[in-house]
C-alpha cells in the first residue's frame, strides 16, 4: 500500500511538505516530541515528505534544543524549520495543498482548535487534527472526533501518528488531491445559492405581513420544485433536468 502511494501517477510524489501547528497559547510538547521521533520521521520520509515546518508556540526554545540533539541518520534529509508564531498561517497551509503541476499534496498536523481546523479546511489542505489533552476538560477531543466523523479531517492520536499519515496518503490518492486547481480565496459576496438567509428571515419577522407573504411564496416554490423533480424522475430525460437547472439559477 505504502509503495503504491509513493509511485503516484502524477510522478511528483516526492517533495511533500508537512506543516505542524500547536496554536499560540497552550504548550503541546507530546505532539512536538512525536513529530521529531525516529519512527515518525522515517514514516514521513517513506511517504515522500522532505520538509517539515513547525509552529511551536511557547515551546520554541525547547524544540530547537531537541532538534539539535537529533542524529543526522534519523532525520532522513528532512528539512525541519521551527518558529514560535506566525500571522501568515494560511501561506504555510497552502504549501501543503496539492496543486496541479506545481506541488504534490502534503499534510497539516494541527491541534484541534476550531480556528485552525476551519482555516485548513478552507484551503483544502489534508489535515490531521490532534486533540491537546492538557487543555480544560479535553474539549478539543470532541471536535477532533466530530471532524473525523464528517470526514473533513483525520483524527490523529498521540503515540500513533504514523497511521494517520498513512491514512492521509490513502486520501490523497483516492481524492486526487495532488492535482487540485490553484487556490482561490472565497468570493465576496458569496454566490446567492450558498448564502445564509436566516438573518433575512429574522428581519422579515419584524414585518409580519411581508413575512407571511414570503413564507407562503417560499412554500409554493418549494412544492413546485418538488413536482418538477418528480416529473423529471418519471420522464428520465436529461433535457428536462438541464431545463430545471436553468430555471433555478438563471
Amino acid at each position: 500500500m505504502d509503495d503504491d502511494s509513493i509511485k503516484h501517477p502524477s510522478g511528483t510524489a516526492v517533495g511533500r511538505r508537512c506543516f505542524v501547528t500547536v496554536g499560540s497559547i497552550a504548550s503541546f510538547r507530546p505532539l512536538l516530541s512525536e513529530i521529531i521521533s525516529k519512527d515518525f520521521l522515517a514514516c514521513l520520509s517513506r511517504h515522500g515528505y522532505d520538509a517539515v515546518d513547525v509552529q511551536c508556540g511557547p515551546d520554541y526554545e525547547w524544540f530547537q534544543a531537541e532538534v539539535a540533539k537529533l542524529d543526522q541518520n534519523d532525520v532522513h534529509a528532512i528539512n525541519i524549520q521551527a518558529f514560535p508564531y506566525t500571522k501568515q498561517m494560511i501561506d504555510y497551509m497552502i504549501q501543503c495543498r496539492g496543486e496541479d503541476k506545481v506541488r504534490p499534496a502534503g499534510c497539516v498536523i494541527a491541534h484541534a482548535g476550531a480556528g485552525t481546523i476551519l482555516e485548513a479546511l478552507r484551503v483544502d489542505a489534508p489535515l490531521i487534527a490532534v486533540a491537546n489533552p492538557t487543555l480544560m476538560d479535553n474539549h478539543q477531543l470532541e471536535l477532533a472526533e466530530e471532524v473525523e466523523e464528517q470526514r473533513w479531517a483525520v483524527h490523529g492520536k498521540i503515540g500513533n501518528l504514523k497511521s494517520a499519515v498513512e491514512q492521509i496518503n490513502r486520501n490523497i490518492v483516492q481524492g486526487r488531491l495532488d492535482s487540485l486547481p490553484p487556490y482561490a480565496p472565497a468570493p465576496f459576496p458569496v454566490p446567492a445559492e450558498e448564502r445564509i438567509t436566516i438573518f433575512d428571515w429574522m428581519a422579515l419577522t419584524c414585518y409580519p405581513e411581508e413575512f407571511a407573504r414570503q413564507q407562503h411564496r417560499a412554500a409554493l416554490l418549494k412544492q413546485e420544485e418538488e413536482f418538477r423533480r418528480q416529473a423529471a424522475g418519471q420522464g428520465s430525460g436529461t433535457d428536462e433536468k438541464g431545463e430545471i437547472g436553468h430555471m433555478k439559477y438563471d
Binding site: W152, A192, I196, F199, K222
Partner: protein
C-alpha cells in the same frame, strides 16, 4: 351651480393612502339648500363613485381622525400585540389598588409594590417570550427563486433592515466575520451596527470587512454602518464581588448601543424605521448575553415595540456535543428568538436550529 362649488383634492391624503380616487369636497358659498344639494348630486356622479359629501363638520372631523389613524397603521407603525389592552387594564387595576391603599396606610403600599413588581416582570417575560419568531424548520436555510422573479427571502422592498452584531474576541470574532460574510447581500436599505468590547481588536476586523464592502459596492448599495464600543462585562481573573457592578456598567452602555439612532439614517429623512435594531446577532461572549438581556427588558417594559430586537444566538463551531455557558443561558432563559448550532448532532440533541457553515468538501475522503 358650478361656480358655487369648489372641488379640492388633498394631495397629502392621496400619497399617504395610495388612492387616487379619494376626493374631499368643500362648499364655500351657499345660496340656498336646494341648489347645493343639486350641485352636489351632479359632482358626485360626475367625478367618481367614491366621493363622500361631508356637510356636517363634526362628521368631517371624525372622519379625518379615523383616516389619520388608518394612515398611521399603513405606514407600518407596529400594531399592539393581540390582547395587550387586557393586560394594560389588569395592570391599571393592580396599580390603582395599591395607590388607593397608600392613602389608607403607607406600608401596605410598599409591600404590595414589592409583590406586584415581580409578578409584572414574570408575566411580561413569558408574554414577550410567547411572541418570539415561529420556527419553520428547514425553510430558514433556503434561498429560492421563481421563474424570473426575485429570490425568497427578499429584503429589498422593506423600509429598513437594521442588523446589530455583537463581536466577542479572538476566535469568536473570526467566526462571526465568516458568518457576516456568508450572509451578506448588498442592499441600500441595510444598516449594520457593530458592538465591540473595549480593549479588543475586533473593531479592526469589522472595519476591514466594511472596507471590503465599500470597495465592492461603490454605488451605495452596500448600506451604512457604525461601530459602538462597550466595556467588558468581566475581565479575566476579575473577582466575583466586583463583577456585578461591571456587568451593570456594561448593561447601561448596551442600552445606549441599542437605543441611539444611527447617525447615517437621520430621523428627519427616514422617520422611525431605523429607531430600533431589527436583528441582534451574537455568537459567544457574556457581553452578547447582556446586550440581549437589555433588549429583552426593553420589550418587557413597553419601551420597545414588539416587532423589533429579534435575537439570534449562534453557537460556536467548536461546540459539537454540548452548548457553551452562554448558549445554556440563552436556552434556559429562552430570550433568543433563534438558537443556532453548527453541528447536526447538537441540533437534534438541543432542539436548536442547524445551520451548516462549513461547506462539505466534494472530494471522496476516508
Amino acid at each position: 351651480m358650478p361656480e358655487d362649488v369648489s372641488v379640492t383634492m388633498d394631495p397629502q391624503k392621496r400619497i399617504s393612502r395610495g388612492e387616487g380616487s379619494e376626493l374631499r369636497i368643500e362648499i364655500e358659498k351657499l345660496d340656498d339648500e336646494s341648489t347645493t344639494n343639486e350641485s352636489l348630486q351632479t359632482v358626485k356622479f360626475a367625478v367618481a363613485p367614491k366621493v363622500r359629501p361631508t356637510l356636517d363638520e363634526k362628521q368631517q372631523q371624525k372622519q379625518q381622525e379615523q383616516d389619520e389613524i388608518k394612515t398611521m397603521d399603513d405606514l407600518g407603525k407596529a400594531p399592539l400585540p393581540h390582547g395587550s389592552h387586557v393586560f394594560a387594564l389588569v395592570g391599571l387595576f393592580f396599580l390603582a389598588v395599591p395607590l388607593w391603599l397608600s392613602v389608607v396606610c403607607s406600608w401596605v403600599w410598599l409591600v404590595l409594590l414589592g409583590a406586584l413588581l415581580p409578578t409584572f416582570v414574570v408575566f411580561r417575560h413569558f408574554f414577550v417570550k410567547r411572541n418570539t419568531a415561529p420556527t419553520p424548520g428547514r425553510m430558514w436555510a433556503t434561498t429560492l427563486w421563481g421563474e424570473g422573479e426575485e429570490p425568497v427571502p427578499d429584503t429589498a422592498g422593506l423600509p429598513a433592515v437594521y442588523f446589530l452584531f455583537v463581536l466577542g474576541s479572538g476566535g469568536h470574532t473570526a467566526e462571526m466575520m465568516e458568518i457576516i460574510k456568508k450572509q451578506f447581500q448588498g442592499r441600500p436599505n441595510q444598516h449594520r451596527r457593530y458592538v465591540v468590547t473595549s480593549g479588543d481588536t475586533s473593531w479592526f476586523n469589522a472595519m476591514s470587512l466594511e472596507h471590503t464592502i465599500f470597495m465592492t459596492y461603490h454605488d451605495g448599495n452596500g448600506g451604512t454602518c457604525d461601530l459602538f464600543t462597550i466595556p467588558r462585562a468581566r475581565k479575566v481573573h476579575q473577582s466575583l464581588l466586583t463583577s456585578p457592578f461591571t456587568c451593570l456598567w456594561t448593561a447601561i452602555k448596551a442600552f445606549y448601543a441599542l437605543t441611539l439612532h444611527p447617525a447615517d439614517r437621520p430621523a428627519e429623512r427616514y422617520g422611525d424605521s431605523y429607531k430600533w435594531p431589527h436583528v441582534i446577532v451574537t455568537n459567544g461572549p457574556a457581553t452578547g448575553f447582556i446586550v440581549c438581556l437589555v433588549a429583552h427588558l426593553l420589550k418587557m417594559f413597553y419601551l420597545a415595540p414588539p416587532n423589533c430586537l429579534k435575537m439570534v444566538y449562534i453557537e460556536s463551531w467548536a461546540r459539537t456535543r454540548s452548548l457553551s455557558l452562554t448558549g445554556k443561558l440563552f436556552k434556559w432563559t429562552g430570550i433568543a428568538d433563534m438558537l443556532c448550532v453548527q453541528h447536526k448532532g447538537l441540533a437534534t440533541k438541543t432542539g436548536a436550529e442547524y445551520i451548516g457553515l462549513v461547506k462539505t468538501k466534494n472530494v471522496p475522503f476516508g
